[in-house]
Amino acid sequence: MSVETRRNFGTVRLPAGFNGLLPALVLIVLFFVIPVLALLLRSVTEPEPGLQNYAALLGDGTYARVFFNTFLVASVVTIVTVLVAFPVAWMLAIMPSALASIVFGVIILSMWTNLLTRTYAWMVLLQRTGVINRTLIAAGVIDQPLPLINNLTGVTIGMVYIMLPFMILPLVGTLRAIDPMTLRAAALCGASPFQAFRRILLPLSLPGIAAGGLMVFVMSLGYFVTPALLGGTSNMMLAEMIAQMIQSLLNWGLGSAAAFILLVVTMALYALQLRLVGARRMSGGI
């Protein structure tokens, strides 16, 4: 390093140990912060300066439906995911480790499998003439094929499938941290299993449920691939609408306004989640 450059660095006075952050910061500022800000700028400047894009989005019934649908799907997916994940996490927390590692293996295999691959599988499985409908008909459970795809059912199945690992894995940690003695004490004091569950196990695992549930909800809000492939046109979600506005309608003003709304909602919920869990535990949770 020449004397020149060293002197330049000297005048900037970077704090000790900061230099290593420079490449990452340059990358993130140049190719993340600036592009996102530029996009947001377009939402108030195109086609002409003003807030008309936001007025159009929030005032129109068609768009209101998409917002409603997005929240509906995210809520349904979150609730179903929590209900399915809790018993599994509960068992995983106390199972003999040989058995648990098999279940963990299955979870990780599904998590690692290419997202499109998994969605493709569900597209084929859930079709009118798909395996699930045929099996149910053959078993005599139903006469007519059930509409399982291109509707809320399809999106819910596909998204719950993807979100389950993100709920199960952190919940196992929460449940393992609960001292079994507290439950034994409850039983000794005469609590029925149901009472012990409702008054002790559930409240103690609530922080984990809340944090995981919020994460699933936030991820679902902005999800694109699965709703686009398994959902129908009548229940389009926000991310798909944004992509469509940009890709097929080339309406950058409206598209970026919708993107900004998605960004604000997501970041607000993320901030809430950070307060619930703490930034350090979040980032160490992988």
Binding site: G20, A24, V33, P35, N114, A239, G284
Partner: protein
């Protein structure tokens, strides 16, 4: 009693049954795709009337698939190298640096993991159109590195937090230069973190669909873009064959990771 595996009675059986069902649910699509890729029916009938390898033949006969796979591999490799290099430097600063606003900067660097990908995808798409980087390999690599960076920082920073810095100091006291101490003492000690960072960043790019859909050009398509295109036009079993190969690759990567981690720990 509720957390006592041996004394739960019927509740344990019910919960175990449910867990088995969920495990089956998680396994179903993966197994199904592999079986489907060997089925002889074009209409995805299941169980198939016969078994065949013709979808794999069709897959390998079409140079577009191989092209897309090679493009994906190239972009993901470059992304992993860049993300790990940048993430490693950043992790040292985040874990060891003493400066105000460290937590805020950590949050900023991890934001790409949280922001809905669609928002980033259209933002970077518009930005690269203006810079003339749309549909180029370098554009892909930059965009994917942004998305992969959190996945590179988290495991390395976690490993570094668990590493006792006094060992590095001891090496310096014994005459190593600070750089030498880091290269020969610290880096080998956090190699599991670095290795996980490389795998995660590779996969973050390899599996990435949304940015890729916007950035792809007719001459530059990644594998997910190719699959996405086929999914929207037909549901041909060729996709099942391509997907099965991906499942196989994933399994191989998982096994290698597990084996390496075991070997590194002992």
């Amino acid at each position: 009693m509720l957390l006592d595996y041996d004394r739960m009675g019927w509740l344990k059986i019910a919960l175990l049954g449910f867990t088995a069902l969920v495990a089956g649910f998680l396994l179903l699509p993966v197994v199904f795709i592999v079986l489907l890729s060997f089925g002889s029916s074009r209409w995805l009938a299941f169980p198939p009337p016969g078994w065949t390898l013709k979808w794999y033949q069709e897959l390998f006969a079409d140079p577009a698939w191989l092209d897309a796979a090679l493009t994906s591999a190239r972009i993901a490799t470059m992304t992993a190298i860049l993300a790990v290099a940048i993430g490693l430097l950043a992790s040292f600063a985040l874990v060891r640096g003493q400066f105000a606003g460290r937590e805020i900067l950590r949050g900023l660097l991890l934001t790409p993991m949280v922001l809905p990908v669609v928002v980033f995808a259209i933002a970077i798409y518009a930005f690269f159109l203006r810079l003339g980087l749309g549909g180029t390999t370098i554009g892909f690599v930059i965009a994917h590195t942004v998305l992969a960076l959190p996945f590179a920082i988290i495991p390395v920073a976690t490993a570094l937090e668990g590493f006792d810095k006094s060992i590095e100091d001891a090496a310096i006291v014994c005459g190593a230069s600070p750089l030498e101490a880091r290269l020969r003492i610290t880096l080998p000690s956090i190699r599991i973190g670095i290795f996980s960072a490389a795998i995660f960043s590779f996969l973050a790019s390899w599996d990435e669909v949304v940015v890729a859909i916007f950035m792809a050009s007719p001459s530059l398509q990644t594998l997910p873009v190719k699959i996405w295109g086929s999914l929207r036009s037909d549901l041909s079993p060729v996709i099942a064959a391509a997907s099965s190969l991906l499942v196989g690759l994933t399994l191989a990567l998982m096994v290698v990771t597990a084996l390496l981690q075991r070997k590194l720990r002992t």
